[in-house]
Homo-oligomer: 430 residues x 2
């Protein structure tokens, strides 16, 4: 039996295997820490080439996953997330090439200054070390997450979903081929070689101090488990309960366009709007106009009492609706007393992710942008812009909803830390 | 019975009390978030005045703590940490005034840029929200920590040591007087009104989501408990196992001065050196010179085999010595094969806090500064400079040894987070 087979049949000690991954990762992280940009980029480009060259192997592996998924009765959307074809493999390869093109954040000087003792202090960006990523079915995450971590100078331990186990292994083999071709340690990107859930438990415990950071990428239950149980820092994403507030000074045409885009461009992403708030001062005209545009575009409307009066026939929003992330073509609509009412509603029900105000009044906009305690505040723009790429940060590993370290899009820079480099001439402290 | 008495006698529900503190803190945080600098500074200055005016009350409260501590048989050093007098109260007041003078980090633009969609993106510094601080006997932390959190726009819940309970309450009363005088909510700085350890457990659970951050300030056992059990992010300080490496190209006089200062200026702080590493190429002369200077200054020397040969009569260092934070006038000395040997030793035994290289060779220095994975790396300067004040950051709440969010000194800026403020003109995402 191979190690992988032993692991799959449970004849190997999971804890020991995972500790081994941790030790390998720490060694690889040391090499990655001072690897020059050219070498890291070469690894990513070689991995992209390997993905394209070995696409048949990947498709074969993916067929194993797809057959197993169909046998287990997975639904259409789940199957679609899992499926690979030549076009999707090419897109994964292009993703690696795009990451190679991004600036290397490592080694840059974030700030520097002199202090009274004569010391020169530099705050320099450095890799975090070893990152653990726990994700669900999409096999492309194996490539995206592995590449982002390596480009930021980190070693990474990937734990993919059991549904995509074979696909991820085939993609991982291409990443390893890339690392080897560039002379970087193969252990810079390790894939947990088992689908046993005990492996996740070991990662949550931190692999004997080997993990510097855990990133869960998946649904709420995964992120909640990781956030609750992890003994290492976590950058995760909980709810994206985003609001669009239409102020009395809004341009109604703009409000219609932005609200329809914010809700319906893609309903399944965390930046999709879930609640529409309309200023009572203009609700009589603005609410039917904006909610009507949403309805015409195929969105179900659920309203509070005031909204129901203005749009007879819509369903009633219950208290649950204000705190539900539909991720679907449904929106809850409430009438609020001005910007203070909107801020109050968002503070009570929001998830501090992304909120938008539509108004032509700069003063009202500034109040909203200043007082609202969410990660991303937009004035006159769709909440669907809540995305690392749209922010000009390049590829992202997700959107963090915590307040520490990284808030909002987690790109290359957010996968680094810093250290202080201090130069003196023999100074002693008085 | 007063609430405080009920709490002290355990007749009140601790969990409910702590939840109440959390709710109050969230409300206060909302007011603090947009409080102007002038108002926050006024609160700190009024608190300083109140400390001076009410010094007799504070000394009386302190006497209760001192009497109880003596009755419990606390030792001299512990008693000294607890003791207040007019001079120390004045120093606490001066500390508040110094924090009032620091720049307000809140609201500043960290970065801003335009993206292809026409959106203007600003990364703006904002308060974290509600911070919980758990500390041990020094009563001055009540004032320092409370003031730093408020200046950074946060509400704070302080849980002081039971030994300093009465002193902390008296100091806290002055802080509240300052907040009230400036028109800020008294609940911006709350002191846990009980010495029951169950209160700490509640804080570790996060007070129903009210806490954004926990900062333990105290010995290793406290920090370890908080780091291990907390369900909210923690900025803490574990070991400070700092190294001084004397390279073959070191100026020996400089090495002597820096090593003596690094070890002996104050032995009890986290930036004190614990291990001296000497390049084998110059060990025959450098080791007796540098370790001899330490010995002459009253330091106990424990050496590896090579060091013992060069300095007959010193004690042998066991394997434990390389990983012991003495916090005392003891140093472990090893001979290493050049800068690579030093880096290897530090990677194996260090705590990623602060390390120093003494060398006249820029290339060797750069290698050390680049490859060593510690928070603070110093070239030709004492490790005792590992301090927020010495870094020009003003007062600090401690030194963080984790890699996420804040690394090294935790000052005002590190007690904040940021949000993205995005301005558009009706953009929708394609």
């Amino acid at each position: 039996m191979s190690v992988a087979e032993k692991l799959e049949t449970g004849t190997t000690d999971i804890a020991a295997t995972m500790r081994g991954l941790g030790i390998n990762a720490r060694t690889a992280a040391k090499a990655l820490r001072s690897a020059p940009r050219k070498q890291k980029d070469a690894a990513l480009l070689a991995a992209a080439a390997s993905l394209r060259a070995d696409s048949n192997d990947i498709l074969e592996a993916n067929k194993l996953d797809m057959d197993a998924a169909e046998a287990r009765g997975l639904t259409g959307a789940m199957l679609d997330r899992l499926k690979l074809d030549d076009g999707r493999i090419d897109a994964i390869a292009k993703g690696l090439e795009a990451i190679a093109e991004l600036d290397d954040p490592v080694g840059s000087t974030i700030a520097e200054w002199d202090v009274h003792s004569g010391l020169h202090i530099e705050r320099r960006r450095v890799p975090l070390g070893v990152i653990g990523i726990i994700y669900e079915s999409r096999p492309n995450v194996t490539a995206d997450a592995g590449a982002l971590c390596v480009k930021a100078g980190n070693a990474v331990i990937l734990r993919g979903g059991s549904e995509s186990f074979h696909s991820s292994r085939a993609i991982h083999a291409c990443l390893v081929a890339g690392l080897k071709a560039a002379g970087l340690p193969a252990e810079a990107i390790q894939l947990v070689p088992t689908t046993d859930r005990a492996a996740v438990g070991e990662m949550l415990k931190g692999l004997d101090g080997a993990l510097d950071l855990l990133v869960p990428r998946g649904g709420r239950s995964l992120t909640e488990r990781v956030t609750t149980e992890a003994r290492v820092p976590v950058l995760g994403h909980l709810d994206g309960l985003c609001h669009v507030y239409v102020d009395k000074d809004a341009d109604i045409e703009m409000a219609k366009q932005v609200a329809v885009n914010a809700k319906l461009r893609r309903t399944g992403i965390c930046g999709a709007a879930e609640t529409l708030l309309v200023d009572e001062a203009v609700a009589a005209t603005a609410l039917p106009a904006v909610a009507g545009a949403l309805k015409d575009a195929g969105c179900e409307i659920r309203g509070d009492d005031a909204a129901q009066k203005l749009m007879p026939g819509i369903a009633a929003a219950t208290d649950d609706d204000w705190s539900t992330e539909y991720l679907d073509a449904i929106i809850a609509v409430a009438v609020v007393p001005g910007v203070d009412g909107a801020l109050g509603h968002i503070a009570k029900y929001g998830s501090q992710h992304t909120e938008c105000i539509i108004t032509g009044n700069e003063q009202t906009a500034n109040k909203f942008l200043t007082e609202c305690d969410s990660a991303i505040l937009l004035h006159n723009a769709s909440t669907q812009f809540a995305d690392g790429g749209e922010f000009g940060m390049g590829a992202e590993i997700g959107i963090a909803t915590g307040k520490l370290h990284a808030r909002g899009p987690v790109g290359l820079e957010q996968l680094t830390t810093f250290k202080y480099v201090v130069r003196g001439s023999g100074q002693t402290r008085p």
